[in-house]
Symmetry: C2
Subunit: 432 residues, 2 copies
C-alpha cells in the first residue's frame, strides 16, 4: 500500500517517522504493508523537525497525487488551497484521503464528502479535531445510534494553556500569552487561537458529525479569551468555577442546532474543569449514554500523526476490502439564533459606591426578565476612587434579554464600566 504525503511540517515529518517505525507491527497486526512512496513539499531544502529521507521528497504535488503508483493520499499541508484542489484530485482518482485539515473541512467539507461518496472511497479526518484524541470515529461509529444533545469541547490547547497559567499561577493574560508564544504554543499573531477561530472550525466539524447536519465555520458564533481578567479568574475560583474556552454544539428538541465558542465558567467538579495546560477534551452528552469525555493531546507532531496513521490503516484496510466508511450526505442544520439561547451569566460591573445604585442595576435586570441568582458587592482596593464592583450570577436567561439588560445598565450614570460577561455552564440545561 503506497502512501503519498502532502506536506512535511511537524505532522508530516512525524508521520513519516512513525510509519517507518510501526510498519512491521502494522503488517503483523493487520496484514497491511504501508510504504511511504513520496512526500510533496514546497521547498526541498527546508529543515524539518524530524529527519525525512531526501529521496522521498518532491515539489510536484499534483504529479504525486496523480501518480498511479500512489494508492492513498495524506494531506497535512493545512489551509484551503492548494489542499482543497489536491484532495479533490485524489478523490476523483478514487484514492482514499486522510486529512488533518480543520479549516478546509469546516469550510468546504460538504464538497469533499460528496467527492468521496461519488468515488466510493474514504475521506477520514480524525486528526482535524482534538489532535491525537479519537473523537471523530467514536462520534461517527460508536455513537451512530445515540441521540446526542450537547458536545462541549476544550479544543484549543493554546488558550487552555493560557487560562491554566492564569488560574493556577495568578498571572495576567498578556504574560500568559507571552509565555505560550515563547514555548511555541502560540503563534506570533495569536488571533486564530485566542479569538476562537481555530476552536470555531473544530466546533463546526463536531456539530456536523454529532448531529448529522452540515454546519460551516461561518455558522459558529465566537468570543475569545483576550478580555478575561485576573479579577474574573479570582471570582470564578471563589464561586467554585474554572474559566475555560469552550466550543459548544447543542441540538434542541425542535431539531435546531446552535454552535458557539466562548469562555465559560465550568463548575470545578465538572470533568472539563480538570483538563489542564495544553490538553484538549471533548465532553459529549447523549440521551441514552449519559456523559462521556475524550481527553488527550490536541496538537503536536506525534500525537496528531498517531491519529492520521490510525485513519491511514483504516482507509488502507477498507481499500483492500473494496469497501469504505459511509459518511452520509448531510443536509444543512437548522441554526438557532444566539438570541434565543439560554444560560446563566456572570456579570462584572464597576459602579459608584453610593446608595441606590444596586437598586437601579437590579431594576434593569428585572425589566428584561433576567433573574439574579446571587450578587456580591466588593469595594475596590483603591478606596479613594469611590467605586465598587458588583458581581452578579444570573439564573438561566435568554441571550437577547441579557444583552438588552446590559444595554440599559450601560446608560446608568452610576455605572462606570461593564467588565466581563461570562456564560456559566450548568450540568443540566433546558433544551426546549
Amino acid at each position: 500500500m503506497n502512501v503519498g504525503v502532502l506536506g512535511c511540517g511537524n505532522v508530516g515529518a512525524a508521520l513519516v517517522s512513525l510509519i517507518n517505525e510501526q510498519r512491521p507491527a502494522i503488517l503483523a497486526r493487520t496484514g497491511i504493508d504501508l510504504n511511504i512512496k513520496a512526500v510533496a513539499v514546497r521547498s526541498l531544502s527546508r529543515e524539518r523537525s524530524v529527519a525525512v529521507d531526501a529521496a522521498l521528497l518532491t515539489t510536484d504535488a499534483h504529479g504525486m497525487v496523480n501518480d498511479p503508483g500512489i494508492d492513498l493520499v495524506v494531506e497535512v499541508i493545512g489551509g484551503i488551497e492548494p489542499a482543497r484542489e489536491l484532495i479533490l484530485e485524489a478523490l476523483k482518482a478514487s484514492k482514499p484521503v486522510v486529512t488533518a485539515n480543520k479549516e478546509l473541512l469546516a469550510n468546504f467539507g460538504s464538497e469533499l464528502f460528496a467527492a468521496a461518496d461519488t468515488s466510493g472511497v474514504d475521506l477520514l479526518f480524525e486528526a482535524a479535531v482534538g489532535g491525537g484524541i479519537p473523537i471523530i470515529r467514536p462520534l461517527r461509529e460508536s455513537l451512530a445510534a445515540e441521540d446526542i444533545t450537547r458536545v462541549m469541547g476544550i479544543v484549543n490547547g493554546t488558550t487552555n494553556f493560557i487560562l491554566t497559567r492564569m488560574s493556577e499561577d495568578g498571572i495576567g493574560y498578556a504574560d500568559a500569552l507571552a509565555e505560550a508564544q515563547n514555548l511555541g504554543y502560540a503563534e506570533r499573531d495569536p488571533t486564530a487561537d485566542v479569538e476562537g477561530y481555530d476552536a470555531g472550525a473544530k466546533a463546526a466539524i463536531i456539530a456536523t458529525i454529532a448531529f448529522g447536519g452540515r454546519v460551516v465555520a461561518g455558522d459558529v458564533y465566537h468570543e475569545g479569551i483576550s478580555g478575561i481578567t485576573e479579577v474574573d479568574i479570582a471570582f470564578a475560583e471563589r464561586l467554585g468555577y474554572v474559566i475555560k474556552l469552550l466550543a459548544i454544539a447543542e441540538r434542541f428538541d425542535d431539531g435546531s442546532v446552535a454552535v458557539r465558542v466562548h469562555p465559560a465558567m465550568v463548575s470545578e467538579t465538572h470533568p472539563l474543569a480538570s483538563v489542564r495546560d495544553s490538553f484538549n477534551a471533548v465532553f459529549v452528552e447523549g440521551r441514552a449514554v449519559g456523559e462521556l469525555m475524550f481527553y488527550g493531546r490536541g496538537a503536536g507532531g506525534f500525537p496528531t500523526a498517531s491519529a492520521v496513521l490510525g485513519d491511514v490503516v483504516d482507509a488502507a484496510a477498507n481499500l483492500a476490502k473494496g469497501t469504505h466508511a459511509s459518511i452520509g450526505s448531510f443536509g444543512r442544520c437548522e441554526l438557532r439564533s444566539l438570541d434565543d439561547l439560554r444560560s446563566a451569566f456572570y456579570v462584572n460591573l464597576t459602579v459608584d459606591d453610593a446608595p441606590g445604585v444596586l437598586a437601579a442595576v437590579a431594576g434593569a435586570f428585572g425589566r428584561h426578565a433576567v433573574s439574579i441568582h446571587s450578587m456580591e458587592q466588593v469595594l475596590l482596593e483603591d478606596k479613594e476612587s469611590g467605586l465598587a464592583k458588583l458581581i452578579f450570577i444570573t439564573h438561566h436567561a435568554r441571550e437577547a434579554d441579557l444583552r438588552a439588560t446590559l444595554g440599559e445598565i450601560r446608560q446608568l450614570q452610576a455605572v462606570s464600566s461593564i467588565g466581563s460577561v461570562i456564560r456559566v455552564i450548568s450540568e443540566a440545561e433546558g433544551r426546549s
Copy 2:
C-alpha cells in the same frame, strides 16, 4: 435487519426500548432498518425495568438463534453458559454477534474470536468494558498503529463509588459499601466487585485488544479495596493522592505484559483522580499519541445499551456490505511475573513508640534495596497505647523486594502490625 436479543435484564430491556425509539433516526442516517424480532428470556412472567412487548418474548433461545429469520444476535445474558454455547451457535450460522459479556470474553475470548473469524462475521463487544464508553473500538481501530505502553482503568463503578464516598465524605468502608448496596450499585454479595474480579476480567480484555496478545482472567493479579482504611484515605489526601482501584495493563520493552488490579494512590492532578462516584475511565499511554483518557458511565441499562446499539449498527452495516471487522488472531501474551514489576509503595506500620524502632525498620528496607522516599511518624490518638504509626513512601522498588522487606519487618518485635501497603502510580514509570 432482524435482531434477536438473548436476555432481557436491565441492558436487554433498555436495548429494546432504545432500538424502537431510534429506529427511524438510524434508518435515515445509515440506511439500516433494525427490527427486533425476538427476545429470549428464561421466564415470560418476570417484571422488567423497562416494558417490553410480550409478543417478542420467547423462552426458546436456541430456536431463536437458529431461526433463519434472525440476521444478527445480541447476547446480554451474562455469565459463561448458556451464553457461550448460544454465541457459538450464532457465529456458526454466520450471524454477527454483539455481546456485553466481560466474563465470557475474558475466559473464552479466543474460542469466540476464532469462531467469528472462521465464519467471517463480526463479534463486537464494546459494552463489555466501560459500559457506554467507547474504548474497545478506539483501541482496535483508532489506535491500531499506536505503540501502547500502558492502560490504566477505573473500570468498576461500585468500588469507585465506595472510594469516592470514603474520600470525600470521610465515612468508613463498611458504611460506604452498605450505601452502595442500598443504592443498588453493589450486590448483596459484593465479592466480584470489591475484590477486583470484575475489574480483572475487563483488564484481561483491555490487555488483549491493546497489546494484540491473548490474556485471560486467570492471568490477572488482583487485590480488592476491602482493606482500605480511613487512615489510608486521610494520609493519601495529605500526601496529594487519591486512592482508586485501578486495572493496569502494561507492556515492557521486551514485549512481556503485566496485567493487574489493585488499589493505587494516584496524584490528585492526574486525570484519573477526578473520576468520581460510579463513573469509569480508561487512561491510555502510547509512544506517539501520549496520554488519552476515555470517561463515562461504566454501567447502567441505557448507557450499556447505547454501546451495544453502536455495535449492532456497525455489525449490521458490515453484514449488508458483506464485510466484517478483522479481529486478528492473537498469540498468547508473554506475562511478566508480579515479582519483577516495579512501583513506589505506601506502607503503613504500627510500631512501639520507642527509640531504635525506626532504625530497625529502615534497616529492613535497606537490606532489600528498597529505598525510602519519605517517612512520617505519627503518634496514635490513644497515647496510653505506647504505639506510633510509621508511614513510608518508597522509591520505585521491585515487588519481590518489597515483599521480602515486609516479611522481615513482620518479624521485628517492635512492629505490632503492618497495615495497608498501596502502590503509588507515577506519571512516568520505567519500562525496562
